[in-house]
Symmetry: C2
Subunit: 193 residues, 2 copies
């Protein structure tokens, strides 16, 4: 029970930290700010996390590990390429809707990672982009996808999806399902009839 | 001739300022930095521009005026909606490729505008987004476009196009024409066959 409580506290600290980093930036957030949000003395927070840097690492790698494991699963599933890409886009949108603050931190504050952690994060991003690009390439080779330039296709998808963070607010007339379905329509079928 | 020279000097100051604002941010750029780039004493720069704020205004409104006049022209041209939207996407990409630094400043540093100028810039952006959205809506009503949610379609297009600034570098294997054509294919026809 004691251990479980400690894990939950850590989880709560990470969640509040992600929200603070998103709104004030990693550099602009102090352990005192974080203490205020979780209702703990800054000193007590160190019973659950090692440092502000360690919090950032946990958030960034939670997101990049999620992306990488989703990619690995899609790569191994025997479905048409079109479906593989649809699944990745769908997962991207869902992660953003469910873990918006953490995704935002991984997108914007990863540059405050240092040393090995920075290298590992950049490597994970490259692994994801290369894996996603390879699926597009294979889909084109298999005749399932249009013969577009793979980089342009990849970055158009990632840009469209990433920006959801900046403009989408739930409850303003577009539901999460509608958002997902419409982005998939735009990217896979296009706007023109 | 003297007047012409003065206009050219002002133009050159604005171009160098856009590059500096893009790389160092508006807040991080001083008139002394700008003087260094254009090879003038900071004091002499004031013969051509009123202030750093006025430089920012000129850059932001140059870009927003360009968008608005392109939109107005497209609205008045008697072509199918699909073509209207294609033209706007194409112009967006071209402006980014030709005036990358100024577009970046208008995208990122507009928030340093103040008072009436800030209001006018936000109004111009709204006018553009509403006008673009109306064309999508009319295109759907006319049966030329897929019945997507208009906001999702608009922001997917704007996000995909805006991000070109962040990932595209000419001369890395994708030409400007190829970039334009591939983005149009993705957004209008979709990736799937």
């Amino acid at each position: 029970m004691a251990k479980r409580g400690k894990i939950n506290q850590r989880q709560r600290i990470l969640e509040e930290a992600a929200k603070l980093f998103k709104s004030k930036g990693f550099a602009g957030t102090s352990m005192r700010d974080l203490g205020g949000e979780v209702g703990m003395e800054a000193a007590s927070i160190y019973n659950h996390v090692k440092s502000k840097d360690e919090i950032l690492e946990s958030i960034c790698f939670y997101i990049s590990d999620t992306y990488i494991s989703q990619l690995a699963e899609v790569e191994q599933t025997a479905t048409p390429y079109r479906e593989k890409i649809e699944t990745l886009i769908r997962q991207h949108i869902r992660l953003m809707l469910e873990e918006g603050a953490a995704v935002s931190v991984a997108n914007n504050d990863w540059k405050y990672l240092t040393g090995d952690k920075l290298t590992a994060f950049k490597d994970a991003r490259k692994r994801y982009e290369h894996g996603f690009a390879a699926l597009i390439e294979q889909g084109i080779a298999a005749g399932e996808l249009q013969p577009v330039n793979v980089s342009v296709a990849l970055f158009t998808i990632l840009s469209a999806v990433r920006w959801v963070e900046l403009w989408y607010r739930p409850g303003r007339g577009v539901s999460a399902d509608e958002l997902e379905q419409n982005i998939l329509t735009m990217l896979l079928n296009g706007l023109a009839k």
